[in-house]
Symmetry: C2
């Protein structure tokens, strides 16, 4: 699969890439619910019970709008942008911390004309994300701040 066997010391190569860490750019087509985002699994160890991943969007890119039972712990590592969390939109910048609770809609957007990258800590065992139904999307769009967020690029 997509998980590298880690050595104990994996230096940064600069530009938010690492030795022995696979860089997985996501391709999008017209129907994809994300845009210009890549994923790198920095740590995956069953003995720890958790993974640490690094996601990065190009300027104008965004992560999938989704929710799930498992929670996420996020630290912005690069750049700035915006984050939808439940009914709130937060401007985010390097080193800000975002906790994504169970069943909370969330999306990150690189709205500042620069890449936006974040660390995401999750449990190794987790449920699959849900995408919004048409009805749920309509409900989200009824909040003006969320509609403005979802229409940005």
């Amino acid at each position: 699969m997509d998980i590298e066997q880690p050595s104990h010391f994996r230096p940064s190569k600069g530009d938010f890439r690492w030795e022995a860490v696979a860089h997985q750019p996501y391709k999008q087509d017209g129907s994809a619910p994300f845009k210009d985002i890549s994923r790198q699994v920095l740590f995956h160890e069953d003995s720890l019970g958790c993974e640490l991943r690094y996601f990065e969007m190009d300027a104008g890119g965004y992560s999938t709008l989704e929710r799930h039972e498992h929670s996420h712990a996020v630290m912005i590592l690069r750049g700035q942008g915006d984050c939808l969390l439940g009914d709130e939109v937060y401007p985010v910048k390097q080193f800000d911390l975002v906790t994504i609770p169970s069943w909370t809609w969330h999306q990150f957007r690189a709205t500042a004309g620069e890449p936006l990258g974040f660390l995401c800590m999750v449990n190794v065992v987790r449920d699959r994300p849900q995408l919004p139904t048409e009805e749920e999307f309509t409900r989200l769009m009824a909040t003006p701040a969320i509609a403005r967020f979802l229409e940005r690029s």
Copy 2:
């Protein structure tokens, strides 16, 4: 205890401090096995099963030389320095990744005349660290590279 109730969005205040995150400087006396180090628990959620902590040493400071059954996943977040891991000493810099396996002696040292800070991901449930016995310390010191590391400040 030392764990803040997290809000969902906790911005960075700059200088590696965060809103609503307690900064815990460790005091040392003559017998302390660490020097000039502080700890901030960024995430602690039982639903995640993991914690993410940020440790920072002042220039010349160091973390405890220890080992334990649980493993650590570390990302250097600030500055540079050196890291002892088992029988190896690695120079470390911002964003380098270090995996600390079970029962492996480890210590971080801010040897570069600047602060050294790192993220450390651990399981919420973990055993207490062991310090080296006099005999184990003597064995470590028998390796010249480790002796040079342990005598630096």
